[in-house]
């Protein structure tokens, strides 16, 4: 049973159930060099990875908290009260029936195997620190597509991991990327060979079940020349009155002419700090797309970024955020135009309700060598009541005279005319508001696979319940 405090903290959260914890290995709370070494040893990792972890740990200890974002809220994190590793299953299963019963029950409630049968190219389900279930369609495997959890990726393809690990997000990037590099566990490792197009999306699902748990998954996706991939990620956690930390690092590498789309719908419960570093590199004529939805968490600080490194590369970022009571969605996007004729589009939409705060924090940089760049940034915010807050902090740094950049932002409330029209057609005020909110997020939902879009609309409807009066 959830405590009274927890219930108040999280409100009506659909995925707030939790199972009795039945871990096979659980580390004590707190972080030290020994904990980092123990994680590495437990996983039987090569020495070079242990060295990277130790280096990152030392950097984490020395590094100040970030100054970009809502940094005051980070003071609430107690790094000594977090469990950095928890193993729930002895091995990663390939057959759904072999997954331990309690974990299977959780993912069944979340609809994972069902979704896989219908429309997924592959799936990984991560419970606490490590993957518990993993599968990939045979035809993809035959084409040479590698889709593994990150731990297995390191075991089976150490050279490939060594070549690319930390090249896009080095451990020294920020305090949380250092923490992730020191204690990472789980996540996905994907390699798509030259010219292979993965038609069906592949999916990972992350679930924190234990209290005061830190989840530090590490995802590395490499799309070789002329290939394409759509990766979808979902996240939930149960509701506790004490806080959990999710601090992932995601690295995408799109080689010449490749295309990676990375879609996330984050629905952590309202006691999770979601501090994620997501960055992609787009080489010549490559495309990196982030489709990023933030519904849950206590504080999200997430700015998916793209380094447009090769001529003609393109970045597309669509980000939506919903900030309810006690939530701060500090989301945004960063695009660095490093090469000529690169283009980018950023669309950010946010809704604040019940005293929630949503912020767009963006960076658009054009370096002197990047001739003929084009970029457009649009931020729209809806405020549903007078207790809420919406901020926009865009930054444009232009070092090239041929760049053509635009930024526009607007903050408004729901239009009275639209409400009146829908209510005159027989909808209640609540339904009418729900319809308008769904329509507001439509540019985002239409980019998601159908099941995710339906799920997102349902989540929004749940969040909108009781928003009148």
């Amino acid at each position: 049973m959830m405590t009274q405090d927890a219930q108040e903290a999280v409100g009506d959260y659909r995925y707030g159930f939790h199972d009795p914890e039945s871990s096979t290995i659980r580390f004590d709370k707190g972080l030290s060099e020994q904990v980092v070494r123990d994680i590495s040893e437990l996983k039987n990792e090569p020495e070079w990875m242990t060295d990277i972890r130790i280096k990152a740990y030392n950097h984490f200890i020395e590094r100040e908290m970030p100054t970009w974002g809502n940094c005051n809220s980070l003071e609430g994190i107690n790094f000594d009260n977090i469990t950095y590793f928890l193993r729930s299953s002895d091995k990663t299963e390939k057959n759904w029936d072999d997954v331990p019963e309690d974990i299977k029950r959780t993912f069944d409630r979340l609809g994972i195997p069902e979704a896989e049968q219908k429309w997924l190219g592959g799936v990984t389900a991560q419970y606490e620190s490590e993957a518990v279930y993993h599968s990939i369609r045979e035809d993809l495997e035959e084409q040479g597509v590698i889709f593994l959890d990150m731990d297995s990726g390191l075991k089976e393809y150490p050279e490939l991991v060594k070549k690319y690990f930390g090249t896009v997000v080095p451990h020294s990037d920020n305090k949380f990327s250092a923490l992730n590099t020191a204690v990472w566990s789980g996540g996905s490792f994907i390699y798509v060979p030259k010219g292979v197009h993965v038609e069906m999306p592949v999916q990972a699902y992350f679930r924190i079940n234990a209290k005061n748990m830190g989840q530090f998954e590490r995802t590395l996706i490499i799309a070789d020349e002329g290939s394409s991939l759509h990766y979808v990620e979902g996240c939930t956690a149960p509701t506790y009155s004490t806080d959990s930390l999710h601090s992932a690092v995601v690295e995408l590498i799109a080689m010449e002419g490749a295309k990676i789309r990375y879609s996330t719908v984050q629905n952590w419960s309202a006691n999770v700090y979601n501090l994620v570093t997501k960055r992609g590199v787009a080489h010549k004529n490559a495309t990196v797309e982030w489709v990023d939805g933030n519904i849950g968490s206590k504080l999200t600080m997430k700015y998916p970024s793209v380094l447009l490194k090769g001529e003609g590369a393109h970045a597309e970022i669509i980000s939506v955020a919903y900030a309810g009571k006690g939530q701060h969605q500090d989301a945004g996007a960063k695009v660095h135009h490093l090469a000529p004729n690169t283009t980018s589009n950023i669309l950010s939409k946010s809704i604040s309700k019940g005293g929630g705060r949503s912020s767009y924090r963006g960076m658009l940089q054009v370096t002197p060598k990047a001739d003929g760049c084009r970029s457009k940034v649009v931020c729209d915010a809806l405020m549903l009541d007078e207790d809420s807050r919406s901020d926009t902090y865009p930054t444009m740094e232009i070092g090239n005279s041929t760049a053509d950049l635009e930024h526009e932002a607007s903050v408004s409330k729901i239009s009275g005319d639209q409400l009146f029209y829908l209510m005159s057609r027989g909808h209640s005020e609540e339904e009418a508001m729900g319809l308008i909110v769904n329509g507001f997020f439509e540019p985002f939902t239409r980019e998601l696979p159908m099941e995710y879009a339906v799920e997102l609309n349902r989540l929004l409807e749940l969040e909108m319940e009781g928003s009148i009066g």
Partner: protein
């Protein structure tokens, strides 16, 4: 009040000092409090009352703390009806002044800032009383070697109307921090800034507009044309308090980049805590439109003339909404002369 030598020097992680650190615009070294002379302020149209300066609220901003300590006098202007021209002349090594305007009717004041001083500190404060309308224009024509630190604090009372136009042409390094508070309901503020970057000019404008009461309106237009190796920075902070319902606020930052080595930064920030508002901002950066250049050159203009015409059109556009005819015309005329000298020769 904090004294300057006890105050902590802001780091570059602070938004206000990110692109132009305090050490770059301090007259000597940041741990020094040098002797600073007085700017010469004269006007044929207006009586200037000079008195010993009282301590002014500086809000822990390092530039204001510094000016508060080095400036000894306050020049109080109470403009009457019609336009008043005020000359601010800067000579010597380092000079500064505090000028306070008290608006009680419909009036216009045009400041002409010029001179050869190496360092100029200018603190403008003003109160626009209930039902008063004040238009202020400032043309910066300092020598090409000067450093200018400008801090403004304006307060607009109920039903007050305040417009502020700045034409920034002179000086080597400029750091302006202009803050306006709409403290009375139904008050209005419009601000227009045009910047011409040439040579290695570094021009940093930070504009804060704070809506504290309902039914307040504000508009900000910043147009910067950057040539040669110049660098323009425009940062805006628009805050709408939860009480300030029915606010209408808009900000636009536009950069025209004229050379490969020119740089521009635009950060229009928005913090909205009320829901019954219309708040919008926009930023754009682009080179000269090649179609427009082609059209003008096909009509017989040289490349320099065509460029000058387009840049003039772009910058003059900053002031089209200035309500005071005399301020608008003075700004536009000075701009045209400046561009003809700089771009055509």
């Amino acid at each position: 009040m904090t004294s300057y030598l006890d105050a902590s020097i802001p780091t570059r992680s602070e938004h206000l000092w990110r692109y132009t650190p305090w050490s770059r615009v301090h007259p000597t070294k940041v741990d020094e409090l040098p002797t600073v002379g007085e700017l010469v302020i004269v006007s044929d149209d207006l009586e200037i009352k000079t008195s010993f300066k009282k301590s002014i609220e500086h809000g822990n901003d390092i530039a204001r703390i510094f000016l508060d300590e080095v400036v000894e006098q306050t020049h109080v202007l109470t403009p009457g009806e019609g336009i008043s021209h005020v000359q601010i002349r800067a000579g010597g090594h380092a000079v500064a002044a505090h000028i306070h305007l008290e608006a009680t009717q419909t009036s216009s004041v045009m400041f002409h800032l010029s001179g050869e001083a190496e360092w100029v500190g200018l603190w403008l404060t003003g109160n626009i009383g209930s039902n008063s309308h004040l238009s202020v224009g400032l043309i910066n024509e300092l020598s090409s070697e000067s450093v200018l630190v400008r801090t403004d604090n304006w307060n607009v009372e109920r039903d007050g109307d305040f417009e502020l136009a700045t034409l920034s042409l002179g000086g080597q390094r400029i750091k302006s921090d202009i803050r306006t508070t709409l403290s009375g309901s139904n008050s209005t503020h419009k601000q227009f800034i045009a910047v011409h970057g040439h040579g290695t000019r570094h021009d940093d404008h930070h504009i804060e507009i704070h809506h504290k009461q309902p039914h307040t309106n504000s508009k900000l237009i910043v147009n910067a044309a950057c040539d040669d190796r110049s660098h323009s920075v425009g940062t805006g902070a628009l805050t709408i308090d939860d009480k300030a319902q029915h606010t209408d606020a808009g900000q636009v930052f536009r950069n025209l980049l004229l050379s490969q080595s020119a740089r521009a930064e635009a950060i229009p920030e928005l913090e909205v805590m009320a829901n019954e508002v219309a708040a919008a901002h926009g930023a754009a950066s682009a080179p000269l439109d090649s179609m427009q250049m082609h059209y003008l050159m096909s009509r017989g203009l040289s490349k320099e003339e065509a460029t000058a015409m387009l840049v003039e059109g772009f910058l003059v556009d900053s002031f089209v909404e200035v309500r005071s005819d005399s301020i608008r015309e003075a700004m536009q005329t000075r701009l045209t002369v400046h561009l003809e000298c700089k771009l055509i020769g």
